[in-house]
């Protein structure tokens, strides 16, 4: 594996453009001609019903599934990037990361440094320092030598984030990074992502199940339905009662919180119960 | 499966240890079916009754084949197993004495089967086919070997010839022993069964033959009955024991020779190597307890004489 001794493209700013991206899985179209642009440092939330293609879209961007069309990062087709160069550009957090029971927290985070050393290399002192710094940034410094199976769900979720950040990639893809967490932990992690995004000028694309949280954290949302992009724009424009009712086959009510955030309230089907 | 090598399996299976009492003696019942038949003899599998003089014998034992021909019963032998390579005119077949197939044997319509290995259900199956089986496992002593001769003689109608053959063997052995100067005390030998240093102790059949010539096995140090008398020796022990003689019983199976022994790392320091006291034996002769033991004994005796003079 001799390729890519090239350093991270430092001038990379993290602009992502998807042109007619389509994915076919098991001969069914999972994603159909999706076009979307994400500005550097922005947070794009992908929303949609189950099976709408949210995860597939992220996986296409992460080059984990074969896709048609093009994905460009700062104008470059990602297909032209080497394996390691791509890993230095895009970090990905999967829906259900695996945690080897006896691996230590610090070693787990250090795995994220892999794209920065050679094929046969192991981490340098600098890699160790970076991993320790990240543990401190996510507030888990005190757990650095603990085995993964002794950590809580929230701690693990933050650890995955640290591992992804260790790649020092300008783009962070989060696939339902918070679904396993309770309400408080969920907000904690999203706040952390947001702080890091601003601090490191990361471009974030995340799938989000919780529409209320999506509306609060994402600057831009993309609504998928049946593999197609059906609406895109600021949350207030996309998340209307009419759109959500239609594409989620639900009955929702949009409220505004005291600080004028969108609150999506799912309601029972009409005529199925009334507690007035 | 990986605990035993077949050479060893063969030895263990053939030794009386696994086989129970060996030997044979007959009690004749006067009746028709030819002179002296039916006859009941005692073999390692108990009393065996042969109703009439057999004319279609199947021998699955290389030693028994040699014995049958030695007592003049060769003409009654119909088939022998793939290891019965002596005498050369024996009707060798593809039968395997170590995985005997009753059906394959029945093909030859035998009226007597001789085996040296007796797997669990073989005897019972042959009983169902009403074919008498004589089980003569490896003889632990000369006496047992002589008993097997007599038993085969009675079972085949050659009692007198068998008795004569035993007498001949006894005389030949006594003559060889007498004509060979008894080896000096402390004269030792290493008997090689295979190139991984399996050997024989003085308690084995071959060990007893060597004892007749005044030789002592270095393997006795491992305990004469270890592994049925066939222990695997450690190579540094062999060097340390520095045997007077080396006898190679693995020349056919494994191409051992005085030259290959001398070429083994470290073995050139052995006095047996330095003084060319290595004798290459015929594996077959050196592993059977039949008529050719006198050839073996004579070969060893001549070798000793040539080195003592």
């Amino acid at each position: 594996m001799a390729h890519d001794a090239t350093p991270v493209p430092r001038d990379s700013t993290g602009r992502i453009e998807l042109h007619d991206v389509g994915v076919t899985l098991d001969r069914t179209v999972a994603l159909d001609q999706v076009n979307v642009h994400v500005a550097p440092g922005a947070w794009l939330g992908i929303i949609g019903a189950n099976g709408a293609g949210k995860s597939t879209l992220l996986r296409a961007v992460a080059r984990l599934v074969a896709y048609s069309g093009t994905v460009r990062i700062d104008g470059r087709d990602t297909r032209s990037m080497g394996r390691r160069e791509f890993a230095q550009t895009v970090a990905y957090v999967s829906q259900d990361p695996q945690f080897p029971a006896q691996m230590r927290a610090i070693d787990y985070v250090a795995l994220g440094r892999t794209p920065h050393h050679g094929y046969f290399g192991t981490e340098s002192a600098r890699d160790r320092d970076r991993s320790a710094e990240l543990l401190r940034d996510i507030g888990l410094e005190h757990l650095s030598l603990r085995a993964l199976d002794s950590l809580s769900g929230g701690e693990l979720q933050r650890l995955v984030l640290a591992r992804a950040l260790a790649q020092e990639a300008p783009i962070l893809l989060l696939d339902e990074a918070t679904s396993a967490l309770d309400l408080g932990r969920r907000v904690d992690v999203l706040e952390l992502v947001d702080a890091l995004r601003i601090d490191r000028r990361l471009t974030v694309i995340s799938t989000l199940h919780d529409l209320t949280l999506a509306a609060q954290f994402a600057e831009q949302v993309l609504l998928l339905a049946g593999g197609r992009a059906v609406a895109e724009g600021p949350p207030s424009a996309v998340m209307t009662e009419e759109t959500l009712n239609r594409y989620f086959e639900a009955s929702v009510e949009i409220l505004r919180s005291r600080d004028n955030n969108i609150v999506v309230v799912p309601r029972r089907r009409e005529g199925m119960g009334n507690y007035d | 499966m990986k605990l035993l090598r077949p050479g060893l399996i063969v030895l263990l299976l053939l030794t009386g240890v696994l086989a129970g009492p060996g030997g044979a003696s007959a009690s004749r019942v006067p009746h028709a079916h030819g002179p002296g038949f039916p006859v009941t003899i005692k073999a390692a599998n108990g009393s065996v009754t042969i109703p009439s003089r057999p004319t279609s014998i199947v021998s699955l034992s290389a030693t028994a084949t040699e014995m049958l021909y030695a007592i003049g019963a060769g003409g009654q032998v119909r088939a022998v197993d793939k290891y019965s390579n002596y005498p050369p005119n024996a009707p060798m077949t593809n039968l395997n004495g170590f995985t005997p197939s009753p059906e394959a044997i029945a093909k030859y319509h035998p009226d007597l089967v001789v085996v040296s290995y007796d797997p669990a259900s073989f005897n019972a199956q042959m009983k169902k086919l009403k074919i008498p089986v004589i089980y003569d496992p490896a003889a632990p002593t000369l006496t047992v070997a002589y008993h097997q001769y007599i038993g085969l003689g009675e079972a085949t109608g050659h009692t007198a010839a068998a008795e004569a053959e035993v007498a001949r063997l006894k005389t030949r052995i006594a003559r060889i022993v007498k004509s060979t100067p008894h080896a000096a005390p402390g004269t030792t030998y290493y008997w090689e069964l295979d190139p991984t240093y399996y050997s024989v102790t003085s308690a084995t059949f071959m060990g007893q033959l060597m004892t007749l010539l005044g030789l002592k096995s270095i393997a006795d140090a491992a305990g004469v009955n270890t592994n049925g008398g066939y222990p695997q020796l450690n190579s540094e022990f062999i060097l340390k024991a520095n045997p007077t003689y080396i006898f190679l019983a693995d020349t056919k199976c494994c191409q051992a020779s005085p030259a290959t022994v001398a070429a083994r790392p470290g073995w050139s320091a052995l006095s047996a190597v330095a003084h060319h006291r290595i004798l290459a034996l015929n594996d077959d002769i050196a592993s059977r307890w039949g008529p050719r033991i006198v050839i073996l004994l004579q070969q060893v005796a001549n070798f000793l004489k040539s080195h003592q003079g």
Binding site: P115 | A222, A269
Partner: protein
């Protein structure tokens, strides 16, 4: 690592000093010193004693080191690649394949001693490839029990063919079984030099992959997003481990359980990272087999106990313990 190194040095020294020939420590040291270049030390002991130490005992100890470290490192690698705690060269059919290759080489009338390791290697490669193909077709991924099941099946087939070939060539039964039994009874320096290049190459490649094996532990996709091609890593590691174990097995015969016991003990006493498990297994595997072989030649001295029997005697109960503690079996991989 330091501890494991100290243990190995001690074990090698003790093992070289002890043997059925019962030589004094001074004699052994004298002979060893006489072979140190530039020292010009001359040992005054008899040629036989010199031969015992230098031609018999030392190559046997060194060969035990090489074979033991290769089997342990190979076992750790297989477990990492297949992410299965029971994966070892024995269970995945490499040994059975190598056995068939060796048998064919022995029964084929030619210069068998030179061809034997190559034939054993070829057999091992064919067997593990078959296991891998069958296992990954049967199961969804290349991990898990489908691989082990495939390995059992492939091993059974190869063993059956081997038994059949053996039966056809009864005259060669003895050398074939000698090989299968597994022992270091006839170890010489030429065995050492024969396998040293293969074992070294294999060990270098495997150790270089220790970090990548850690990445495989967090999953296939994660590995890919970290810029690693998991299939290439697996292929390289399996090829290297097969090369090394086939080479080791070609001179030692089939010695079981080393590849399971040693890496597991190492995992239980360290933090289970392959960066640590691989080198420590390498060193500890050597210690383990040298000790087992010392046992094999001393317990019934001057008789020999087959080395495969000694390792199985320790390995059997250990295997049961591993199965009983599922947590340690699954969690650490």
């Amino acid at each position: 690592m330091v501890v494991a190194g100290v243990v190995l040095v001690t074990v090698v020294l003790v093992s070289t000093a002890m043997g059925p020939a019962d030589l004094s420590l001074g004699t052994v040291v004298g002979v060893l010193l006489s072979h140190v270049p530039l020292l010009h030390y001359h040992s005054s002991t008899s040629p036989i004693n010199q031969a015992i130490v230098w031609e018999i005992r030392l190559p046997r100890v060194i060969l035990a080191c090489l074979v033991g470290s290769m089997l342990a490192l190979g076992g750790a690698s297989y477990q990492g690649v297949f992410r299965n705690p029971l994966a070892d060269p024995y269970l995945l059919g490499v040994a059975a394949g190598a056995g068939l290759g060796a048998t064919i080489a022995i029964v084929t009338p030619s210069t068998f001693s030179e061809l034997l390791p190559l034939a054993a290697f070829a057999g091992g490669v064919v067997a593990v490839t078959l296991t891998y193909v069958v296992g990954s077709k049967a199961g969804r991924s290349s991990s898990g029990s489908s691989i082990v099941l495939a390995g059992v099946a492939v091993a059974a087939i190869f063993t059956a063919i081997q038994t059949n070939v053996q039966q056809q060539h009864a005259a060669d039964l003895q050398p074939v079984y000698s090989w299968i039994l597994g022992s270091l009874t006839v170890a010489t320096w030429s065995d050492v030099t024969l396998i040293l290049p293969y074992v070294t190459l294999s060990a270098v490649v495997l150790l270089a992959h220790r970090h990548l094996l850690d990445i495989l532990r967090v999953g296939e996709e994660e590995a890919r997003t970290l810029g690693v091609n998991p299939n290439r890593v697996r292929l390289t590691v399996v090829a290297a481990a097969t090369l090394g174990t086939a080479a080791a097995v070609s001179v030692s015969g089939l010695i079981g359980f080393v590849g399971i016991i040693v890496p597991h003990l190492v995992r239980l006493t360290t933090n289970a990272s392959y960066r640590v498990v691989m080198p420590v297994s390498l060193v500890s595997g050597a210690s383990f087999l040298v000790l087992a072989d010392l046992f094999a030649r001393m317990v019934e001295a001057p008789g020999e106990v087959p080395l495969g029997v000694v390792t199985a005697f320790i390995g059997g109960p250990f295997f049961i313990l591993v199965l009983r503690s599922r947590r340690s079996a699954q969690g650490v991989l």
